[in-house]
Amino acid sequence: MKTTCLIVDDSAILRTMVARAVRLSGAGVETIVQAANGIEALAVLSATPVHLVLTDIHMPEMGGAELLAHMQADAKLAPIPVVIVSAEPSIDRMEDLCRNGARGYLRKPFSPENVRALIVPLLEQQHENN
């Protein structure tokens, strides 16, 4: 199964940095697609099969929490694991997002090892489910 990862961040630099970290992590992601906010992400998700979403929280138009809520409310999108990638200082808010459906979080700054440790088990689980 070809693995596709969606990276959502309003910063083009950060999308490239996260994409690089995902590639360097050796997690076996073959295709990386990108979106600049939650609205663009939902458009990508409706057109492309995605196996993992990595999203920032604070973005214009639609942030990560709202994107997560939209995905959780959609039976087709709810099973896709969502990981929050943010400089958010509050662990409580990160954990609130996990209680609302996110499967984990990466706090910036992070290393490719941090990325690998978080996304490999999620992708393995996705492969088993498919």
Partner: protein
């Protein structure tokens, strides 16, 4: 909330620069040759509200962007250089607030805003801590509202 001193501010900025962008830092600060700086303002709100302001030349943003994306500095666009400084402010604010705020008072970060400022005005108006990164001056200020 703990008191913020310049050392704490400097250490958060240094950690962000070194761990996020693999940039070497130096405590010496020199504005020679800088005409214009980019100023990144990052507001935060909640039990504690205020603003973090970071000033640096676009050239430093280019260095950070190049390191983050593994491209030549010359190929970094002005927008991406500004983007890199925005992210530097974001990560520095996150690191700093985690050190000084309790979980109950942790503020929410807004989206950072970038503007230009003359080098002769920017650092003097906002400077609380200053260092040099890859030979480029960086200043950072943190203030809370009453």
């Amino acid at each position: 909330m703990k008191t913020i001193d310049p050392d704490l501010l400097m250490s958060a900025l240094a950690e962000a620069l070194e761990t996020m962008a693999f940039v070497t830092i130096n405590p010496e600060f020199d504005l020679t040759g800088c005409v214009t700086l980019l100023r990144v303002s990052l507001a935060f709100s909640g039990v504690i509200a205020g603003q973090l302001t970071l000033c640096a030349p676009r050239a430093l943003g280019s260095v950070i962007a190049a390191n983050l994306t593994a491209v030549d500095v010359e190929s970094v666009t002005p927008e991406n250089a500004a983007d890199a400084l925005r992210e530097l402010a974001n990560i520095t604010a996150g690191l700093l607030l985690r050190q000084v705020c309790s979980p109950q008072e942790m503020p929410q970060l807004a989206i950072p805003i970038v503007s230009s400022t003359p080098a002769a005005v920017g650092p003097h108006s906002y400077c609380l801590a200053a260092l040099s990164a890859e030979g480029h001056p960086v200043t950072i200020a943190f203030r809370t509202h009453a």
